[in-house]
Amino acid sequence: MFLTFLTFLPLVGAIILAFIPRIEEGAIKQTALAFAVADFLLSLLLWTNFDSSTHQMQFEYNVPWITTWGISYHVGIDGISLLLYVMTTFLTMISIIASWGITKYIREYMMAFLALSTGMLGVFISLDMFLFYFFWEFQLVPMYIIIGVWGGPRRIYAAVKFFLYTAFGSLLMLVAIIWIYLAIKEQTGVATTDLMFITEHLDIPLTPQKWLFMAFFLAFAIKVPMFPFHTWLPDAHVEAPTAGSVILAAVLLKMGTYGFFRFNLPLFPYASHELLPMIAGLSIIGIIYGALVSLVQEDLKKLVAYSSVSHLGFVMLGIFAFNHYGMQGALLQNINHGISTGALFLLVGIIYDRRHTRLISEFGGLAKVMPKYAICFMIIALSSIGLPGTNGFVGEFLILLGVFEVSGIWAAAATSGVIFAACYILWMFQRVMFQKLENPKNESLPDMNCRELITIVPLIILVFWIGLYPKPFLKTFHASVEHLLTRVHPDNFRPGKPHLEHAQLIKKEDIARLNEQLNGGKH
């Protein structure tokens, strides 16, 4: 019940905002912020009361919703979703502070943002496939409106592209959900869309399992976005307003990786193993491609957008390493990317507010006029590269450790992505911050003000906190990751009694090979 309250609190805020007259801009902003802060602070209670020794769902709430179809409103949180949930409330708060300067239709803006928050939070707690789909699509509309109304010059194109890409992917997921719903009804006689029940009891032969995996994969891969489904991302990021970009990068993309944890791996373990080469290949291509494309970008926001493709490639690779390090790293890197890239977008937004351009060539020598800005930028840039002592290092190191146990070549290829990341970030930093201050327009830029510092400093604290003492974060993942790993372990594949012939499809040597891989990761 508490979880439901937290999730719908922002929506309540949005509804209350609708009754505040449009003239009262101050009151509108303060109310929105009050709701966001309250939601964040209360969500911290989840973390402090979270029992990290178990993989079981916590703060569960389960009431029937559409009884004729066995659909229930079932929510809960485990180690995989807890930090994503808290990060969402946290970044919603930061985004609202960062949006203080919006002047156009401020009330509608704040309403859209709070509604978006509810949609995102709902995605992370849904334990019913129908409910999940419900929230998954629900958050599309506010984001679409945020990009389309408050975005840049090509906002309409970007917004429609964002919407259609995501809708297309998720509709195929819907077909898969219905298929599973009918399959579980046939196998167990229970008509339900409850994810926990389905994960426990679903037995599907390999061929349909692959198809279903692909349907879910498409929905999530578009969201992540994995190469080659990433083309909506640069457009959406470049056109979205600053806070929209922050949420898009920090939370919306994580819904994709979260989907793999919650659906693809536990529901289709065998298909996950079978399709591993494809996913690893696409991830590695994404890592290198994203980094190389970032290198040549002239627009700061585009650069950060493409770097997301690269970073999320790491996360995907970590998930599909199928060992403890890889998965923990992937989960942590999820959070790290939210912090670092979110902060990068905020920083780009700060400079954009002052100059109304994001072209790297327009800047140079900013460190002289904006020293505070330069320091913040430096810290975040280094965390994005993964310098030891910052959060990025811990995540990437764990992922690479996990990947290395599976394949040295993959790890080597992925590591090259880290090197490229250093190249594009540092080169960009050099061109923007150092060199001579040549452009006269840059001479009198004011440094960061108090409000802007409030948005960045908490993120910087987190950068160091996770970088130096990641244990509290890793601890929350531990039990859930262990559980998931046993679930996807080849020993535990359940080819199912009705489909005995499929048991023989898993060849002995395959099992041995997979065993070797997985046991390697369990030191």
């Binding site: 919703w65 559409i66 009884t67 004729t68 179809w69 239709y105 509608e108 129908f130 789909y133 419900f134 699509e137 629900f138 599309l140 509309v141 679409y144 409106i145 389309g148 109304v149 906002r155 309409i156 917004a159 429609v160 919407f163 259609l164 809708a167 297309f168 509709l171 195929l172 819907l174 077909v175 219905i178 298929w179 719903y181 009918l182």
Partner: protein, 477 residues
């Protein structure tokens, strides 16, 4: 010589039809005695619809056959009767202000809607092909007149004439198909035809198969499925907007109900032969409807093409031919009634006298002048596209489950693809409303009755989307 036995007459099962006919005649008669103010007629019509809906519940222990097995009161027919009464009531309510604005001052208007509803109830309840024909004709003739009710407007006349010519042509096909099936089976009763098919003697009879093909063409015309949809955009555009909304829901639902009875319930054994045809019609309707809608600049034409696409989705329920299929058909049509009346209600509010403000461009910046209207329109359009948590999503979910249960995976994937395409043009309207600056003053008179309809539609769309449980339970009964 033995006297021809007269069938037992069961007036109770015929109650909704009788009530509607009586009230229709009452409207006509009252019209003669009242002056210019026609609001009494509205009141009579609405009472009639309400009583018809209540009287449809007169029979228990469904299904009940009467008139020698030509008429049935079963779950499908009762549910559909409710849909008809709701949609006709909404049509009457949105017409009040519209008629005032456009100067349509004829009392027949309301009685025609009632008579049309009579036809729909007959259509959804008949289990005899002659009755089906009768129902279709009653519905069609009322609609021909309604489409042309703006006598001085050439567009309205064009719509009526086009509709009449093509509709009459389609009726020919339908009748011919019925005749051939009668030739093959020796009966017009669906129950007897079903039995003959079950026995297998007529399954591969060429007459039977020809009849099936002709029936599909006839029904295809009436529900405006591709390739028999050519009349729909012109008629939808030319007809007065409330009539367009009315046409898009009630008559279509009635024809689909009969369609379901004739094919899915009567001939499941020969489903490979008609299934493949419907499959093609469904896929074509979805693709051509959606792709056609993308190119439209007129909101009524856009909705017309989208309704062609929706017929494509609805045909899937017939192809699935299971109990989920009929239940999903019912739920979809109910949801569709709310969405369509909501969307057309807004079109009526935005529209000005003489077909002004019907271009999508005219919606530019609506969100800043009338945020509630724009939000409602967005909800209706997204619901038509099938976005949760709206009624259209649950309806699609329902139809897709019916089809997947029978293993039509490819068909469902195609349908899903089409839903994605459809978002493009529904969003186009949203883009104009939210993301463009107004090009001129809206000058909207917020007529209370139309607003009331929009409010009902909004409630229906959200309620069926968020708490569909009770209605699903009724449909699945």
């Amino acid at each position: 010589m033995e006297p021809i036995p007269a069938p037992s007459i069961d007036l109770v099962s015929l109650a909704p039809v009788l009530v509607l006919t009586v009230f229709g005649i009452m409207v006509l008669v009252t019209d003669l005695f009242i002056g210019k103010n026609k609001s009494a007629l509205v009141f009579i019509s609405l009472t009639g619809l309400l009583m018809a809906a209540i009287s449809s519940l007169a029979k228990y222990d469904l299904p009940v056959y009467s008139f020698n097995g030509a008429y049935i009161v079963d779950h499908l027919s009762v549910f559909f009767t409710f849909i008809f009464c709701i949609s006709s009531a909404l049509a009457i309510l949105v017409s009040i202000d519209f008629n005032q604005r456009e100067g349509i001052k004829v009392g027949e208007y309301y009685s025609l809607i009632l008579f049309c509803t009579v036809g729909m109830v007959l259509l959804a309840s008949s289990t005899d092909m002659i009755m089906i024909f009768l129902g279709i004709e009653i519905v069609s003739i009322c609609l021909y007149v309604l489409a042309g009710i703006r006598r001085n407007d050439p567009k309205s006349n064009e719509a009526a004439l086009k509709y009449f010519l093509l509709g009459a042509f389609a009726t020919g096909f339908l009748l011919y198909g019925m005749a051939l099936i009668y030739g093959a089976t020796g009966s017009t009763k669906l129950t007897i035809i079903a039995e003959m098919i079950r026995e297998g003697s007529v399954r591969s009879e060429p007459l039977m198969l020809m009849g099936v093909v002709l029936l599909i063409i006839g029904f295809g015309f009436k529900v405006a499925s591709v390739p028999f949809h050519m009349w729909a955009p012109d008629v939808y555009q030319g007809a007065p907007t409330p009539v367009t909304a009315f046409m898009a829901v009630g008559p279509k639902a009635a024809t689909l109900a009969a369609f379901f009875r004739v094919f899915a319930e009567t001939m499941p054994e020969i489903s490979p032969s008609w299934g493949i045809l419907l499959y093609i019609l469904s896929v074509l309707s979805m693709f051509i409807g959606n792709l056609g809608a993308i190119m439209q600049t007129n909101i009524k034409r856009l909705l017309a093409f989208s309704s062609v696409a929706h017929v494509g989705y609805l045909l899937i329920a017939i192809i699935a031919k299971n109990s989920l299929g009929s239940a999903s058909l019912m739920f979809y049509m109910l949801a569709y009634a709310f969405m369509i009346f909501g969307a057309f209600g807004i079109v009526i509010l935005i529209g000005r006298k003489g077909d002004e403000n019907l271009e999508i461009e005219n919606y530019s910046g609506l969100a800043y002048k009338h945020p509630i209207l724009a939000l409602s329109m967005t909800i209706f359009l997204l619901s038509l596209g099938g976005l949760p948590p709206l009624a259209g999503f649950v309806a699609k979910f329902y139809i897709f489950s019916a089809a997947l249960k029978e293993g039509f995976v490819v068909l469902v994937v195609l349908a899903v693809l089409n839903s994605a395409i459809s978002f493009y043009y529904y969003l186009k309207v949203v883009v104009y409303m939210y993301m463009k600056e107004p090009i001129k003053e809206f000058n909207i008179t917020l007529s209370p009755m139309t607003l009331f309809v929009v409010a009902i539609a909004l409630f229906g769309t959200l309620h069926l989307g968020i708490f569909p449980g009770p209605i699903i339970a009724l449909a699945q009964y």
